[in-house]
Symmetry: C2
Subunit: 204 residues, 2 copies
């Protein structure tokens, strides 16, 4: 019996609260050496690089895709290891979707942290991530995960595959508008003096 080419195979997945994703179709790891320019404190970053090496894994993504086209989803897990670079807590690079109106779900499975969300016209918001908490990120919001805890921050995510990611936007803006920094035993938001604003022409 021939398989109809237009009907993709469903995916049976097993999602571990530690970030495993049995049934995944792809994945990648980000290493400390990939994070140059992400943190403000260049000296602290260089010191950590010397201590842990550029191959040290800082976060990993597992994902499942089964189709292409406008209706297709990418479903996966993100595991952001805990740590600090100078005063700043560990972050993912962060992105705006290349197709900016595309939304995304982040559902926290374990760990503690924040989803930092910023609009191109200057709003900055932090949403708590803890087991059971989820954030519905609409289109047009730049977003990044931040691990403010002592254990891996694991989220289940879901977004339209055709959304894509613009990872360069934050770098071109001099970083996100807000930094998440240590404050006693907790965290606080501090304005990033290097932030130059996002290029508003991207809004379309």
């Amino acid at each position: 019996m021939t398989e109809p080419r237009s009907v993709p195979e469903p995916g049976a997945l097993v999602v571990g609260v530690g970030g495993s994703l049995a049934g995944r179709t792809s994945g990648y790891e980000k290493r400390l050496g990939d994070m140059g320019g992400v943190y403000r404190d260049q000296a602290a970053y260089e010191a950590l690089l010397a201590e842990l090496g550029g191959d040290h894994v800082v976060y990993r993504v597992e994902e499942h895709r089964c189709a292409e086209g406008p209706g297709a989803l990418t479903i996966g897990t993100s595991t952001l290891l805990p740590g600090r670079v100078g005063e700043e807590f560990a972050v993912t690079r962060g992105h705006l979707h290349a197709v900016p109106d595309r939304a995304e779900l982040y559902h926290c499975l374990s760990g503690h942290g924040l989803l930092l969300l910023e609009t191109l016209d200057g709003r900055s918001e932090a949403y708590e991530l803890a087991p059971g908490r989820a954030v519905h990120v609409p289109g047009h919001w730049v977003h990044r995960s931040v691990n403010t805890g002592d254990e891996p921050l694991v989220t289940l995510f879901c977004y339209n595959t055709d959304a894509g990611q613009d990872y360069g936007l934050i770098e071109r803006a001099g970083g996100m508008k807000s930094l998440v920094v240590a404050d006693g035993d907790g965290w606080t938001l501090r304005p990033n003096p290097d932030h130059r604003g996002y290029p508003v022409e991207v809004v379309a």
Copy 2:
């Protein structure tokens, strides 16, 4: 300060494994009286209706939407109560997306059951739902949840808001191709003799 109209507000959600969704924007309940024609055993359905009443809740959906348009998502929880109608286990009505290429995520938070998936050209598959198991349903698959356990079956779902739902397709086909029926202490799939095939012209 005026809010830019083009940027929707994010949603901060708290997802309970029992199906609660703090931060929801809408929701609905399906009652036993809404399920006429869904189960094969009409006498068993009528008897249950007489016993429990038409207002008896059989499943509920909580959801969050924050935008319209092609990139918008609907995120929510589905809670399907346990039960049987004759030999058949409790089911949701089931649907194909009105825009048939739209995909959907179901991530089981509690309970035990199946996601029953069928293509318009005659494939029928059952995927296990149990805590931590997820199913990535690509476009073009008719799908329905089935509770084969003794407690509520709770799933987190995520799909494109513009997908819509065709709830009439299954009824027009005489029911889904497979029935999920009791088999000792467990369940088994049995061909539905009333199933006439799906109208293939819907494929597009």
